[in-house]
C-alpha cells in the first residue's frame, strides 16, 4: 500500500490548510458584511428590527456550529435547496461569524459615550450622518483588536467543516491518519499548523489592544 513519509504528511496537511484559510476568509468576509448589516439594524430606532437581530444572535450563539453545519448541508437540501459543501460551509460559518461579530461591534458602538450621539443630533445631523461621521469612526478604532482576536475563533471554527465532507486541515488529518496509522504525529502536526495560523493573529490582536489602551490614556 501507499507509504507516507513525514514530508508527505506535512505537505498534504499544508495543502489542505489552504482550504482552512480560504474558508476562514469567506466566513470572515461574509460574516463581516452580514454582521455589519445586523449591527446597523440593531442601531436603528425600529424596535422590531432590534428584536429580530437579537433573536438571530441568540439562535446562532446558542446552538453548536456543528449542528448549524449539518443543517445547512443536509437540512436545507431536504427542503429542496441544494447546497454544495462550499455553500453550506460558507453559509453556516457566515451566520455563526456574523452573530458574534455583530455582538462584538454592538458593544464597541455602545461604548461610544451618549454625549457624542447627542452632540451630533443637536448639530442637525440625521441618523445616518450621525452614524457615518461621528459614531462609527470612533467605534471602529475600539473594534479592531477584538475583531482581529475573533478571527482566531473563525479559523478554529472551520475545523468543524470537516464533518460535512469538506477536506480542510482537520479532515485531511483524519484521512492521512487512516492511511498511515500515525495519529500522534498527524494530529500533532495538524495542531501545530493551526497554532502557526492563529498565534500570530492572537499576538497582533493583543498588540493592537495595547496601543489602543496607550492612545486612550
Amino acid at each position: 500500500m501507499v507509504e507516507f513519509t513525514l514530508w508527505d504528511i506535512l505537505r498534504n496537511l499544508l495543502l489542505a490548510a489552504r482550504w482552512t484559510v480560504g474558508l476562514s476568509l469567506i466566513a470572515f468576509i461574509g460574516g463581516g458584511f452580514v454582521g455589519f448589516a445586523l449591527l446597523i439594524a440593531r442601531l436603528t430606532p425600529s424596535r422590531s428590527a432590534r428584536r429580530l437581530v437579537s433573536l438571530y444572535v441568540q439562535l446562532f450563539q446558542g446552538t453548536p456550529l456543528l449542528i448549524q453545519l449539518f443543517l445547512a448541508y443536509f437540512g436545507l437540501a431536504l427542503l429542496g435547496i441544494q447546497t454544495s459543501p462550499w455553500t453550506a460551509a460558507a453559509l453556516a460559518l457566515t451566520a455563526y461569524t456574523s452573530a458574534f461579530l455583530s455582538e462584538i461591534w454592538f458593544g464597541c458602538v455602545a461604548s461610544v459615550p451618549r454625549g457624542q450621539w447627542e452632540a451630533a443630533r443637536s448639530l442637525a445631523l440625521n441618523f445616518w450622518e450621525q452614524l457615518r461621521h461621528v459614531i462609527l469612526p470612533q467605534a471602529l478604532t475600539i473594534a479592531v483588536p477584538p475583531t482581529v482576536g475573533f478571527l482566531v475563533q473563525v479559523i478554529k471554527g472551520t475545523a468543524l467543516a470537516s464533518v460535512i465532507g469538506f477536506v480542510e486541515l482537520t479532515k485531511a488529518g483524519g484521512m492521512i491518519t487512516n492511511a498511515t496509522f500515525r495519529p500522534f504525529t498527524v494530529y500533532a502536526l495538524v495542531a501545530l499548523i493551526y497554532f502557526a495560523l492563529c498565534y500570530p493573529i492572537s499576538l497582533t490582536a493583543r498588540a493592537l489592544e495595547r496601543t489602543l489602551h496607550a492612545a486612550h490614556r
Partner: protein, 205 residues
Amino acid sequence: MLAKGVAWTLGLTAISATAGIALGVGCAWARIHGPVWMKAVTGAYVELFRNTPFIVQLFFIFFGLPAMGFRLSPEAASILAMVVNLGAYATEIIRAGIEATPRGQVEAALSLALSRMQTFFHVVLPPALRKVWPALVSQIIIVMLGSSVCGQISTEELSFAANLIQSRNFRAFEAFIVAALIYLALSIALRRLLNWLGPRFLFGD
C-alpha cells in the same frame, strides 16, 4: 436516546465547568504569582489551547496520546479535552479579573495578618470571579456547544444521539432541528442557572 444525549451533554459540561474553573484559578494564580518556570509553562499551555481547534485537541487526546502509552476511554478523553480547553480560557478570564483587583485590597488583607494563600482565596479571588462571571458563563456555554464534537469519538452526547437517529431512520432534518432546539434551550437555561448559582455559592466567602 435524545434524553440520554442531553444527560451526557449536561454531565460533560458540569464536570468540565467545575474542573475547568478550578484549573483556571490555579493557572491564573501561577501566571501572576508563580515562579518564572511556572509562568512559562502556564503561558504555553494557555496559548497552545486557545490557538488550536477543540476538535483537533480532542482527536489528539483520543487518537494521538495512546501512541505515547496514555489511554483514555472516549468519555474520559472528552472530559479531559473539555477541561483543558475551558481551563485555558478560564485562566485568561480569571487573570484579568485578578489583575483588576486594587492593590489596597491585598495590602489590607496582609496587614490583617492573612497569609498569601488566605489573601488570594478569601480577598482577591471572590470579587475577581464576580467581576468576570458573565465572561466565564459565556465561555462555559461555548464549551457546552463545543461538546457536540465529542460525538465524533463515540461519546454518546446530544449530537451523537441526533446523528445516530438520522443514520438509523435517515430523517436528517428533523433530527438536527430537534437537536438544535434542545441545544438552544440548554444554553438559555444554563446561562440562567449559572447567573443564579454564581453569586450564591461562589463569590460570598
